[in-house]
Symmetry: C2
Subunit: 153 residues, 2 copies
C-alpha cells in the first residue's frame, strides 16, 4: 500500500452497504411505491393519506404542533399542506394567536379518506401477512427506536 491515494481500498467500503440510512431509504422507496400504487384510484399518495388520518384523529391543530407530532420538518409539512389545500382535502385558517395557522381536514378530505381506507388496508394486509404479526411489531418498535436515537441531537 505505497500509493497514498489508495489508502482506502475498495474493500474498506464494503461495510458501508450496511448503512442504516441507505437501507432505510431503499425500503422506504419500495414500500412507499406499494402504498402509492394501491391508493392511486383515490388520487392521493401515502403521505397525504397519513396526513388525513392524523388530522381526522387529532382534529384542528397548529402547523408546528402537527409537524412535531409526525416527526416532519415544519416547512416540509407546510409545503405538503399547501398542495392538499389546493386539492380541497384540508383547510388552513388563522388561529387565535395571530402568528399561527390552524389546520383541519375538510368534508371532502374525510370522504376521500373513507374511500382510501379499504385500499390502504389492502396494502397494509399484504405486508402484514407476509411478515407476520410478531415480526411486524418488532419492526415497528425498531423504527420508533431509530427515531428516538436520531432525534436526540
Amino acid at each position: 500500500m505505497s500509493d497514498q491515494a489508495k489508502f482506502q481500498k475498495t474493500a474498506d467500503f464494503l461495510c458501508c452497504m450496511d448503512c442504516i440510512g441507505f437501507n432505510l431509504r431503499k425500503a422506504n422507496r419500495a414500500v412507499s411505491q406499494l402504498y402509492d400504487e394501491m391508493l392511486r384510484p383515490t388520487g392521493i399518495r401515502g403521505t397525504q393519506y397519513s396526513l388525513l388520518v392524523v388530522l381526522k384523529i387529532v382534529g384542528p391543530v397548529l402547523v408546528t404542533e402537527l409537524a412535531e407530532k409526525i416527526v416532519m420538518d415544519r416547512t416540509t409539512l407546510s409545503r405538503n399542506l399547501e398542495v392538499m389545500e389546493k386539492q380541497g382535502l384540508v383547510s388552513v385558517t388563522p388561529g387565535e394567536d395571530r402568528r399561527t395557522r390552524k389546520v383541519m381536514i375538510t368534508e371532502m378530505g374525510s370522504a376521500v379518506l373513507s374511500d382510501a381506507y379499504p385500499l390502504w388496508q389492502r396494502a397494509q394486509a399484504k405486508i402484514r401477512e407476509s411478515m407476520g404479526e410478531e415480526r411486524l411489531q418488532s419492526l415497528m418498535a425498531d423504527l420508533s427506536a431509530l427515531i428516538e436515537i436520531s432525534q436526540v441531537d
Copy 2:
C-alpha cells in the same frame, strides 16, 4: 350510527397509525437527517454518499443496472447522478451499446468519499451503539424482507 357520513368513525382510523409506510417514512426522515448532518462538512448528503460507495465497489455500471441494484427508480437515479456529475463526483460516458450510458466514480468522488467515511462511521456507530448489534441485524433483515414483499407486484 344513523348518519351515513359518519359510517367511518374517527376511532376507525386509529389503526392507520400503525401504517408501515407512515412509520417507515417517519424513521427515514429522522435517520436521513442524522446522516446528512454528520456528512455536512463534506458537502454531500447521505444519498450521495451511498451512491459513491456503490460506484466504488461495483465499478463502471450502466444506469438501469445500477438503478435495479439499489432499488431506485431509473429516472430518480438519473436525476441524482446529474447533480453529482455537475459536482464532479461521478462521470457519465457513452457505453458500447449506443443506447447506454456508463457511470463511474471520479478521482474527486473517491477523495470526497474517503473524507466522508469517518463521518459516516460516526453516524453509523451512534445508531449501532444505541440499538445493539443483534437488534440491528434483525432490523436489516426486516428491511430486506419489506423490499422483497413490496417489489413482488
